[in-house]
Amino acid sequence: MNERFSKFNTGLLADRKITQLMIFTALTFFILSYVSKDIFFTSANFISMSYQIPEIAILSIALMLSMLTGGIDLSIVSISNAAALVASWVMTTKMGDSENLSNKWIIIACVLGTVVGVLAGAVNSILIARLNVTPILATLATMTLFNGIAIGMTNGESVSGLPEQFMRVGNGTFFGIPTPFVLMIFIAIAVGFLINRTTLGLKVFLVGTNRKAAQYSVMGDRKVIAWVYLISGLLSSLAGLIIASRTSAASPDFGSSYILLAIVIVVLGGVNPNGGFGTVTGVILATAVLQMVASGFNALRYSQFFYLAAQGGVLIFVMILNVVLERRRVNRSIAKSLRS
């Protein structure tokens, strides 16, 4: 357990879980490259992966935040779609029949999208931090609500035909690197900084480890939790905007399987679903593993449904592994405490 948190002073590489994940990532990479040289191990595939990784990575980071506090935010995908829809609606309405839209309106649309995300996050915050609703239940309800509002507003149809300049963000490059990937790195660093280098971050870990003790330590546990769901909403909306920009469309049904995928990634990335432990690096690495598996499956012509089953399988396997390791650790620590 201490190894997992010693990054506090000794840097990322000392984190055993991360090291394990890195080895695992490398293994996945080499095996898939070996098995599918001509499709997986091609630059086209890598470029396509680097466009797909960011959106799911950002959603997973959002999910990680709520899981660090021992909660869960099931509404991330709904928020992401709602934000994308609002932004797209603004853009298409302002566009009229023309192909282009002034940058000013694109920025306004994006800002409105993030406002939607923050507002949705605020609803979660009120329910969870203020009214003490269990996070699972609260976000299950808001997931239905946000998704329902999005469907209601659009009649369940998707909005497409977004302006050229907006699409350039999701499909362009920045100094040769795909722009969404750059955005993801930026967000990952920001969130990493938030949880590891700020007082709020330390509080997040402590609240997630023991809410009761946090209450008695007067660190404003409600405020911490409220912030987490607010940020989770914001990050989800950013993911939504990136998705809209990459696919040039927004739909209330997009990514319905993403919530399972995000949970798989977060758990594989070493985040403890009971709260208190986890790293951004772990989540990013786990996203890379999952995305490689997805393209590998694709290259090997396995069906997308087999990939779905594999996701479920990985989730159950990692959880069982965690439980087994935890049992051994607990036995050892009982032994230790009795010896002393």
Binding site: M1, N2, F5, S6, F8, N9, R197, T198, T199, L200, G201, L202, K203, F205, L206, T209, N210, K212, A213, A214, Q215, Y216, S217, V218, M219, G220, G276, F277, N331, R332, S333, I334, A335, K336, S337, L338, R339, S340
Partner: protein, 498 residues
Amino acid sequence: MVTLLTAEYGVENIVKSFGGARALSGVSLSVKGGEVHCIAGENGSGKSTLIKIMSGVHAPDSGLIRLGDKSFTQLSPREAVREGVQVIFQDFSLLPNLTVAENIALPTYILKNSRLLSKKQTNQLATNALDLIGVDIDINAPVADISIASKQLIAIARATNLGVKMLFMDEPTTALTRKEIKRLFEVVEQIKARGVATVFVSHKIDEIQEICNTITILRNGEVVSDGMMKDFKRQGISQAMTGLDVSETRIAPKLKKSNDKVIEVKNLTTKPTFSNVSFSIAPGEILGMTGLLGSGRTELAEAIFGQYPVDSGEVIVDGKPIHLNSSSAALKAGIGYVPPDRLTQGLFLEQSILNNLVAVGIDQYQSSGGRLAKSRLAEAGDRWIKDLRIKTKNPLNPVSSLSGGNQQRVVLAKWLAMNPHLMILNGPTVGVDIGSKREILEIIRDRAQEGMSFLVVSDDIPELIQICHRVIVIKNGQISKEFSEEQLDETVLYKELS
């Protein structure tokens, strides 16, 4: 009945290790039907492990469990119930969402292996069980809505129900008033007459001597002494339990006479928990507060700290009334609070010692833009580890790796770091070994000498006498009596308490 009375229940040469460390090394104990036996021992002596083995929670590594004619190498919880072993745990182990009747009747159904239950039979079983111990409780009420004293009685009614041959009672009198304890002892006498082997786990020596026939004293997983109760003297029992010649001399520092008040509590009321509680504490004074479980002592302490709602009244710190019902206001005014349960309320068990040490007032370590000043954090951690002599090699180890005494020091340190005017300590030495207890009391003394005031909430009377300048006793949510330094006396205090 005759066979029951001669039957013997107990264990032979039980050894139990957890991952290499011995919790019990060759413990034997035997209780006859119709006998009340006492198991005495400190925390970590193996009492609870023994109970868990007898009730089927743990399997022993070796040794035998003997229940009358039958011997077992291990029991499952179900077998234990079937063989008539019942345990009344300190927390009563009742299910809050089920009714009183169901809580009492369910074990009987399980015992009989019934798959179906009828409401009529459930009520009948419950009524009989309650009648047997002469108690009248609404059997259709959910347990969540029932008072602590009634819960205790329900737990007893349940355990004494059909088929119990060996009954463990873990600290059964903690929550009870003297009157209720009398009643409990009458009940124990009754079940004794029915041939039940009763085991009392308690550290209240007066009560043990009153009710028990025989005694076994455990220390570090071994039986250090056993025999007839009448052969033991009070001092002998506690010495055998601790293995030390316990000196409980007073260590409270001399209090300078002054009329200053660090804190004044005026007419604090939250009905029905407590009402019209008023007291004040001088600089450097250590005030003790005691009372039975459920007397309102914990709620009072938490109310002052803003963790328990207050209906009316005032808390005045340094002449200014503070905003009630807010812990952050209490913290700002200079009030600290060490809660009674270190593991669930005090510590972030899996987190590092360092993070635990700085958990209060994290914002102190904030530099520009909400950034965490890690070097200052580490410095503070090192300082407190040194100051309070917390035994650890690395402040980044999880706090769960520390012993009970060192863990308690961590909780203490995180509050001392705030340098409060008033420190409220609720059960400061619960579950701490004798040596650490002494050191913790000395820390309190030293700080008091420097002018910090303390409110020590505890049911450990000798401890209060050792450290406090003054003790108030809470009864039914009110101050029933105040004892000044000269009046502090164990027997008198115990008497006032119950």
